[in-house]
Amino acid sequence: MTTVVIADDDPDIRMLVAIAVKRAGLELLHSAADGIEAWTALSEHRPDLAVLDVSMPGHSGLDLCRKLRADAAFGSTTIVLLTAGVDQQSHEAGTVAGADYFLSKPFSPKELGDRLAQIAGARA
């Protein structure tokens, strides 16, 4: 089963993402509340999928993205960035940092679940 680590500093959003992950039938290994906790969890679990909020205290989603991409151990990790920003620039920044997917808030939990299932399917 596809393993997932998620990170978002907003507890409500974190729970919403967790629900979407579960509905997509993926295995949630850890929900991190900030960038540093997320990095620890990512290093520990080496998940198949990382769903990261862009703006978090500690390391931002973009920082984590760059760290993951700089480390060969995470070569097989698919990165999904979540952002509340709307402009084209943040999208580009995410792509440059090495994110595979870029999803914007607000999202429907159902749609997010479907999308994650699709992404996990594409990996297989």
Binding site: D10, D12, I13, L16, I19, S55, A84, G85, V86, D87, Q88, K105, P106, F107, S108, P109, K110
Partner: protein, 570 residues
Amino acid sequence: MSTFWSTFYRRISVDNPSPLLKQMPTTIGFGVAVALALTISSIVVAQPVSLAGGSTVIVLATGLAFYFTKDGRETRWDLAVPILSLLGIALLRHATGGTTSLFSGLIILPVVWIAAEDGRRWIIVSVAGTSAALMLSHVLDWRLPQNEGEWLRGLFTPFVFGIAAAVINELSRQARVRAETNAALAQELEGLLEDARANEVRLKSQDRLMRSIWDAVTEQSVIGTDVTGLIDVWNPGAAVMLGSTEHETQYKRYITDFHLDEELENRARELDYPAGATVLNPGFSALVEAARLGRAEIREWTLVRHDGSQVSASIAVTPRLGDDGSTTGYLFVGTDVTQALEVSRLKDEFVGLISHELRTPLSSILGYLELMRDDEESPLSVEQLQYLGVAERNAHRLLRLVGDLLFTAQVTSGKFPLDLGPANLGEILGASIDTARPGAEAGEVELVLELPEQPLVIRADSLRVGQACDNLISNAIKFTPRGGTVTVSLSSTADDALVTVRDTGLGIPAAELDQLYARFFRASTATRNAVPGVGLGLTITKAIVTAHEGELDVESEEGVGTAFIMSLPR
């Protein structure tokens, strides 16, 4: 002796001395002659009556000269004085022996006066006067000249006196001409001096004006350099901006000393100077590149203050031209934009913050509402679903509002990228109508779409144009009472595609039409009729249309309806 005579002529002819002064030589000479005649025994006074008469005439003439002097008026009648004097001298001559008289020479004195008058005719008068004076003794004695010698004396003496008179007359004339020339020159000189003084006054006042303007420019730096960048002009504004005084910089520092080296190097690299010898100082050349080519350029540079701190300035560089049109240096006029940049940065930061902080809670609200609605384990009642729908609709409304606010912020800060591509306006309008239909049905407003037979495709940002159409249509519906109609039509001219949204609504008062596109403006008809909204829709629509180089026009009549016509270039 010659000095005496020239002075005498000058005084007589040019300086225009008083008649009394001119008469003095004659009076004195006559007096001396009379004294000699009375005291020296060898001089025989044959005719005492003539002596008395002559003396009387001279006294009379001198008195007349005194009168004319006193009177001071310019008149030719003063010539009566030398003419009378001639008569007086002629009588003296008669009294002391007539043709043999010792005192014939006195005649020359009044003759000089007459001859020095302006005009050749006075030579004739002088000769005639001399002849008359010489002939008087013959007339009084009533006898003709006795021998050839007497005849010749009567003719030759006037001839000699005539030559003397002519010489005097000519010398006087020349002196007069010289004097006139001198006077004209002096007047010209005076005029020139006058002009020079006026010029000086004007220059001084201009200088004062320049000085005061110069001192008044304290918010902008004005720095001048020669062609090598050596500073020769440094205004108070530059002192304020950069912390160095004119004294510290003029002819001592180079303009590049106040710039960041790496910025100049970057610019030089951008300009792609050939490496090496051709450009001596690439940094300075990069700074004045445009001005050197004759263009004015405004560019943002980072300046380094005296204390090492930095200031962002927008600097206009222009060439200074010499009399022959060649570049003699450059002028740098700078405005401190540090604050403006900071404000812009804060605004961007604020926009980012709002974007995150408002959208995050909305994400939660919408997400959990959806979870509740779709919960298959414990389905909600119809009523509960209805309530939930209201909550969701309003959350979406908030989300749209946040989006609109962000968008206007982007528009005002100039960050409004268009994603241009082929845009099928018919399809876009169809989609907008579909979006608006539920609202129209709820408000019992009929929605009509009129499309041309041929599809109309223009180059535009489909998403933004769709947003503009959504705004116009939802606005029209909001402002149209029950039973009204909103007609959306698409047409085209040779140059433009026209989208017209016409309603049968409240209308906009004519006086408010020109404020329509101001942010947060709401028409009085809107507030009076409690139509919901914050007044951003039209601002956004206008911005989108303007970004496409199109136009947004409005026709409205209060109580009849409004039509918005959006024209986009094809």
